[in-house]
Symmetry: D3
Subunit: 136 residues, 6 copies
């Protein structure tokens, strides 16, 4: 009897899309205004979903207070009000597209969440563009 | 050719999180302010999803007017404007976490919906916390 | 050059609508299922709006970090995860309708916010029912 | 390492639910006010989801600018501000329920999106009624 | 001590923008695709706001159950799942723009709501376009 | 008979809060993480409201297609996917708080909108923080 619990969080960050192997013209051709070297930014909305059995003692799959704190320590502390390209080490060499940010967040959370639980990460870059990564 | 149809509904209820095997201190340690013996409450948002083939006569997987009435008779009639712990019999002995409420709703609806259709229940306790149960 | 700044917050609480001068039948006649003696509850969404001149040093009408903390200390600390009728003193003798809750919140905040600033409080009881009080 | 990218779009259209094999009384019995011969309409919200590997050069599963343009040319150009029954050929003989509209949109997009990518279409007819089709 | 209470409702309708004094070319020039003679449609979201003193007996400015029923009898009954141009008499000679629909709704409700209460009507034609009329 | 018409738009931008008369320590004391010299960013949601009489020929206060294009040419073209501090001239010497951005947008639009119409600008910096400027 598996249930999925979801917790929403958000962070505000600056970024630009950029492949260092390409010159500026090629970056602009592929990424358009998202490659602006002065950066732009987003209110990222994050949904973390954890699937597992209900603990009969608590009625919880996972205590959402614990999940909220993990999101804060693993994600928000390092991403919120930051420039992702300049201040988050992994994005020095990895293009901070929504896809790549979601995978990075999944990897960070996967290390701290009980291995018996499945994990999924959804990240809204804007209300119209969002991505999901489940580790598959 | 399977399509999933979703219907949203909502109900307002009071509850507290509480395990009768534990004393008040232990309940507070695990459930925090959610264990307040005077209760608190939520605007629960419910999404019922039904998956099946499209009936070629109607173009429907299931008539959503019928699904809406089932949600009203099976869920809202008993849960809306109620104290879940005090007035909904199943929660006299089952902790009314979002997880357990979703499973209870799924079980109620499963009995009334055609067995050839798959069923999923998503329950928002707050805009930031929600759960999904698919019967797996 | 007056600008209005808004800050949203939320709290979850139980309540019932009840006039102690009336018997149960009259309370049910007027308030319907909202008068359930076992209580029900809501996810209240609160919007506090403050209007004034922009401070040329900060570019702020009022620092929203300060406003957020005032909302926490004056409202959320006493209302969140509470039973309004049983645990918030003012509602021992005042019916906790959305109208009255909004006026109570406005009065609490008015005492702590600079008198040169105008104040407005909007309170959502459900996504479909909400009230606004401006002190007029 | 598969990621799903989602793009939201919307269109406004008129429609009625109608089975030409039935007389008006039977259509009204099954479809109720949705069978009004003068039509009614909706703000349809469309979510197109595409699943595949992240391209290491771009960090994209699929360029959402390209997906946005495909949605415009394949769906919005023909559906937006139209009467679905009268002006979209396929619905001359297919009842424009949300289920059938979603399948039609999926089929249109499936022809233009790389076969190595999975496709899913979600269509909101109203904020409370929506459907999903994944091609299964 | 005046408080404003708000009630949201919605209806789905077809319409076209059209001035009968103009020919089709002129109508298309002014109204674009909104003048499509086959109609299009919307999920209209309606917010009715009523301002007045709090009744000390009930704690209400106006019982929202009563307001909900007035909206149903005065607006939804005649507008929901209708073609506004063809089936709502006033729009036979009045262009059903959001502005004009809001004024018509305000006039209908004004007749039925206590004269001591102020009335405001907000109508969303789409999530991005909406209008407000206060009777001024 | 005055009606207010509203049009929503959005833009994504980077910014930092910063007063050049203060040193970094003072900027951090006042603006906290919002003063990060590497910038952060937001999905800004903009609501432009225009109030005036309904034109009896069109049924419009103002053609929202025209208003949408004005918002694009006066605001989005210069703000979207930009670094407000670095690339929008006015913010070289004006702190880009939500308050100041709203006033700048109001001033830009005021020059292009008919003087007989009233103008109001609401700007969401996040879903929880937003400001309104009406020119008063």
């Amino acid at each position: 009897m598996k249930v999925t619990v979801h917790r929403k969080a958000h962070f505000n960050a600056a970024h630009r899309l950029f492949n260092p192997k390409w010159d500026d013209a090629k970056n602009y051709e592929i990424f358009g205004k998202c490659s602006n070297p002065f950066y732009h930014g987003h209110n990222y909305e994050l949904i973390v979903a954890v699937t597992g059995d209900i603990d009969p003692e608590t009625g919880f799959v996972m205590d959402l207070k614990v999940l909220r704190k993990l999101i804060e320590s693993e994600v928000l502390k390092n991403f919120d009000h930051k420039n992702l390209n300049e201040e988050v080490a992994v994005f020095a060499t990895l293009n901070p597209t929504a896809e790549n940010i979601a995978v990075v967040i999944w990897n960070k959370l996967r290390k701290t969440i009980n291995k018996g639980l499945e994990l999924s990460v959804t990240l809204y870059e804007t209300p119209r563009n969002y991505v999901t990564y489940t580790g598959d």
